[in-house]
Symmetry: C2
Subunit: 142 residues, 2 copies
């Protein structure tokens, strides 16, 4: 039985391995997805079932976020592999377009604080992995 | 009050951002850590309090794992940013040196299955992050 749920308007910036995985499942989950990347080839990572829109362009340029109708977005995910790009896109989304939920991927843990200072929710894959490895380093009795 | 615990002999391959973070906390947690990297400069990421050993060399070469006394290791973590290197190091550690717990970082989710086929426990930071983002894409009522 399917639960009835409200779908979200989600903008994803960066269609690399991570962005494309998230875009694919967000689309499959019934959300309205727009994904932006400056490399047109990256869209090949999207599933054939991906039902969202793609925008080929630099998301740090305001007109591209305007084309994505960022002012209507429920969530913007900045998932490129470049911290500076993610920071800039997040700032524009949050403070120019007023996107309520902005989440950025942060590569360098040293940048973590900067994102938090501007109230951008940031997630570091490296710190997630380092955390996951803590469980491996527990001595066992065998 | 400190809990009395057995310390582990841990070999970490790759002293980039991820390897150095794990090496620092593993050392701080009282484990015996050896970290191997072919780039000597990468050891600068280690904390001044890091009490383990560093080996400058290519961990895919058996003599370097021998120098690290891999046959005595409780755990080997292959954490370079290159899947091929991590796979090769893991295979040697597990099947030549008989290391019981071998865990590898996998960048490309498409390689995940290969590692699992050889019973190498693999963790993908990208999949961890994609999973973490699922929580962000739940519609709220506000």
């Amino acid at each position: 039985m399917r639960k009835k749920k409200k779908s979200l308007y989600v903008i994803i910036v960066g269609c690399g391995r991570m962005g494309s995985i998230v875009a694919n499942y967000a689309s499959a989950d019934g959300h309205n997805v727009v994904i932006i990347d400056k490399d047109e080839k990256s869209f090949e990572l999207l599933s054939p079932d991906f039902s969202g829109f793609t925008i080929h362009g630099d998301a740090t340029e305001v007109e591209n976020l305007k084309a994505a109708k960022a002012e209507n977005a429920d969530v913007l995910l900045a998932l490129t592999n470049d911290d500076n790009t993610n920071f800039m896109v997040s700032m524009i989304a949050k403070y120019v377009f007023g996107v309520r939920k902005v989440v950025a991927r942060v590569y360098d843990p040293d940048n973590y604080q900067l994102f938090n200072d501007f109230e951008i929710h940031s997630i570091s894959p490296i710190l997630l992995m380092a955390e996951a490895l803590r469980g491996v380093l527990i001595p066992t009795e065998d």
